[in-house]
Amino acid sequence: MDVEVACFFAEQAKMAGLLTEIAAVLAVAERGHKTESLGYFDTSDWRLYQKGLALVHTKGLLSLKGADGMALCSIKSSKKLKFFCTDVPAGELRERLAPLIEVRALLAQFTLSRVCQVYHICNSDGKTVVRLQHVAEQAVGAGRTAEFPPLLVVEMLRGYARPYEKVCALAGKYGLIATDRRPGAVGLALEGLGFDHEQLISGFTIQLVSGIRVGEAFAAIGQELAKTMTANLAGVLADIDSEFLHDFRVALRRTRSLMSLLKGEMADDLSHFQAEFKWLFTVSGSLRDLDVYLLEQEQYSAMLPESLQSGLKFFFAELSRERKKARRKLKKDLSSDRFTRLIADWQAFLTALPARPADDLGGQDCRQVAERLIRRRHKQILKKGTRITGDSPPEALHELRIATKKFRYLIEFFRSLLAAEAVDGYLGHLKKLQNNLGQYNDLAVQQNMLAGYRYSLQESGRRQLETASALGGLIVHLAAEQGLVRARFDKAYEQFASQETIDLLAAVFTHGSPSTAKRETAEDENTGDLQ
């Protein structure tokens, strides 16, 4: 049953007069006031808010509320500033949060303080027929405070519509303005505190203008990626959760790909930046790798029998220690002059990229260049892939994986210049092959890391023996899994190389270039030497 409620903007100063007006017709009883303090939790990318949910802590209770403000489930909890899904005891709350939150941290984003003055309007029998609340709210967060205009909340009691309507009419007559606002409006709190809750840091999108030149596109993409890196930097330094470094490195990886993919089309010398971004990629790698392994702890534990669990624990304790070291080192590197200069120089470079003449490097029509590069890389992938047999060494698959990754980035960069829907469909197909190659590579890397670690174990104490056994057990398991993944490669590749998928790629180009139709027939005869 929904509660019928009407809200009005009502400054404190007006309340006394309004209550006197009401008292002339019905009895008004003051029922005291209540103070509430509600702590709102969400990830830094507002995942719960995006889904219309709110995670609120008040009076020792942590509740997940739906869009209508009703609690979906609650647990007892002490006050916290930050926690993960894994910190929530097993149960309905954890089950609801896990798929939305994943590995991100839930942070205390802001607090809503509320003071309610409660009044009951009674009839001649002393029965409450309308409930009034004068609500003053304030949101505090991100070092700011936002005060909200006080509201008068008029609540109807079922079966007592007439007195409710009467009170609402009196409020209107007294000059109060009705509003759709309700107490506890999270969106308004976020706005008031200046949170950018519209941001979605997932995937990469950029709208390039039709007719854009290569150099301009390069600058636009580079700047968008630099924005993402900067946006995640604070989170990395504060070590809020592992996703910040992950997102930072993804943007970094794309930036490096941007340079390697387009350097042949640009007139400018990118070598300095290529070297510096490579440095950045290397120094940020150790911490990321350790994060990934630490996230695997439960899965690894599930792979081993009871007898090897203690060895695994030693291993992860060691990894945790290493992680602390890696984090300190990265913090230093990201606070260094070298890093600060790189970001500043890169930004300056992109902003000052000169416009090139239409026929020169950097000045060509981006759409045409994109098509040429995509088709070329596509051919290269087909060439590499077809050569792979059951006997091919792991390096061949590794190379193919790198090629498909760059290929994907290329298409994503220029999606806005191509047939967007076809692009999405095509990338869906490409993803299947990429997943297979990615899994294979992950398993290889994991085995290498574990084997290397095992090899480096010095001394032969009990602890080392147990650890070595556990790692041995993991390596066996991972090797078996890798075998299965390898066996699935042929099918995955076949699908990618099928006529159906190739036709899909062609469909991608049916947008933008007016000479596309002509070009397609020309391509058939051309061996592609123009490239």
């Binding site: 049953m1 009951h120 029965k127 409450t128 079922r158 079966g159």
Partner: protein, 247 residues
């Protein structure tokens, strides 16, 4: 939704106090409760300070057109369908219905309420009419207060006979000793003799001044004296009666 009829063919045994206080306890425990005052005397309605709307009457009730006459009490989660003076003719109205209909009319009427309520409590008039038969058939649980005297036991026997007549399962009956005065020998004797029967709840409600005064302060006892023995007794009684799986 579970339907609980608070019923006794004998008046003055604490039926309405039970209905009001159990309804309040249930709402406090988080159930969505509707208390239907079926007794034209309207005592339960009086305790809640709720009068029926002018247009309400027994005719509207039997037509199923009573949703808009339900009124919210002062207590969260507790609504009341107030009694109306015309309810004294409910028997006659039910008698007008066909043979198959006349005993099942209330069951049908109450079914749609399951959407909004977890517990439907019926405060019943103290008699043995067609209305009573309807109530016994519609109810999932029949809560019957028994003052530990010989006459009260006679009334209990009448209830059992009525259940048999309308083919209502006597295991629905949850009897409990009401208005108990330990200093009275008869009370002690009767309780000793009959407490062991499965039908009787372990909890009994003593005669308490606070309960008697409900008509003065016009609130459930738990609202005025939340920590009192009276409030605790009713909570205990509710815990015994309310089905295990619903808790």
């Amino acid at each position: 939704m579970k339907i609980l009829a608070i019923y006794s063919s004998k008046g003055g045994v604490g039926k309405t106090a039970t209905a009001v206080n159990l309804a309040y306890t249930a709402a406090l425990a988080g159930q969505r409760v509707l208390l239907c005052d079926m007794d034209s005397q309207g005592a339960a309605s009086y305790y809640f300070r709720i009068k029926p709307k002018k247009k309400f009457n027994s005719h509207k009730l039997l037509q199923g057109d009573f949703g808009k006459y339900i009124r919210e009490s002062d207590y969260s989660g507790l609504d009341l369908l107030p009694a109306h003076f015309s309810f004294r003719n409910l028997d006659l109205a039910l008698n007008e219905l066909g043979e198959k209909e006349r005993r099942r009319a209330l069951s049908r009427l109450f079914a749609p309420l399951a959407e909004d309520y977890d517990a439907l409590l019926l405060d019943c008039p103290p008699n043995l009419t067609l209305l009573s038969e309807n109530i016994l058939i519609a109810a999932d649980i029949i809560v019957t207060p028994v003052v530990p005297t010989t006459l009260s036991l006679l009334a209990l026997e009448q209830l059992l006979r009525l259940c048999k007549k309308v083919d209502a399962d006597h295991r629905k009956i949850r009897a409990f000793f009401s208005m108990v005065e330990q200093r009275k020998t008869m009370h002690r004797t009767v309780m000793e003799k009959y407490q062991k029967f499965a039908m009787f709840q372990k909890t009994s409600i003593p005669f308490l001044a606070e309960v008697e005064k409900m008509g003065v302060y016009r609130q459930p006892v738990g609202a005025v004296y939340p920590a009192s023995p009276a409030a605790k007794n009713y909570l205990q009684l509710w815990m015994e009666i309310w089905p295990e799986e619903q808790k």
